[in-house]
Symmetry: C2
Amino acid sequence: MTTTDKASTKDRLLDAAAELFYRDGVSIGVEALCRTAGVSKRSMYQLFASKDEVLAASLERRAPGYAAQLTPGPDEVRTPRERILYVFEKAEKMSVEPDYQGCPFLAALVELKNPEHPASLVARDAKERLQGAFRAEAELGGARDPELLARQLMLVFDGASARAGARIEKLDGLTMATATTLLDAAGVA
Amino acid sequence: MTTTDKASTKDRLLDAAAELFYRDGVSIGVEALCRTAGVSKRSMYQLFASKDEVLAASLERRAPGYAAQLTPGPDEVRTPRERILYVFEKAEKMSVEPDYQGCPFLAALVELKNPEHPASLVARDAKERLQGAFRAEAELGGARDPELLARQLMLVFDGASARAGARIEKLDGLTMATATTLLDAAGVA
DNA sequence: CCGTCGGTATACCGATCGGTTTCCATGTCG
DNA sequence: CGACATGGAAACCGATCGGTATACCGACGG
């Protein structure tokens, strides 16, 4: 089927893009990208207007899985406090993998200094969604200022992501401890 | 004086390097770098073995001034708690400048995915020094676990740096509030 | 006065950049 | 069978990459 073939090519391209952009940075060339994806440059430029669009699409594709990886299932964890801490627990577990480079969306935002880059918009959106999830849990948990708590948790999350990704720090429970302190101070039981 | 002339060329090069690497990222080319510095490529490669060394040297040069910018003078601020909060206050003030891109050392570490890159070593060193300063103040302030508090403050500092630099967030007192909460929890009066 | 030294300018190296285009093999459909 | 769309391989575009080499300049020291 034509549709299936097209999608497969696109999928291979976006998968390779997600991996290479994450591992080697956004400066990776189109040549190398297409080579590892097994896709001709012609097909790439037929599917996307530019390398920037490929990057944006690869981030967009990655977003739902990333969120699912960090978020507990519906009946997996009970209280809002536990659901928030679950995110940090997962993040810490991810950070010990040998090729961990921090949150891919934050990395893209830092590397692309331009905040208007199409991929920057996608990345900021992903960040906003996580913050929204924190905020929703904070409200459920009766936080004094849910928005403030959500922003504080994002600070911790992204700080930990950058520092662990850059191999500045090993987070043995550091984010869990910090998030716990912030939850306590916000009155989330 | 020969020494003065040499230093001047080197200074021009490192100043331009610091600015361009920060503004445009580490991918900025040697050609553009030398052009804006008013230094020939030949001179550059006479002073440094490679572009990577130029980047490392420019970060090293920038470090003391950066630290001085964040740290209060000896009699400017009295208590350890105030001295710690002073850092975040300064950081928030810096973050509102139009061309702010976050902490240059953290940005370099994220962009250079390789933690063994000469510039990565310099950047990590700068980060370690700030953490050491936090730790020293935490001890003076009677923190229950000075090292833990210092690491938590670095999480907040770098998270805020990355997020404000990427234009995800405006920190109106967010880091001050978060640091205050952490100080309170650590027992630093 | 002459050599050397620090410096610039410039051209060059092979490689790669993002992106376009040409050619051709493989269809699939009428 | 013939017409046409698809897409892969690869050449090609001008520009730039990091790095080197050649040639020339002015100042300073013997």
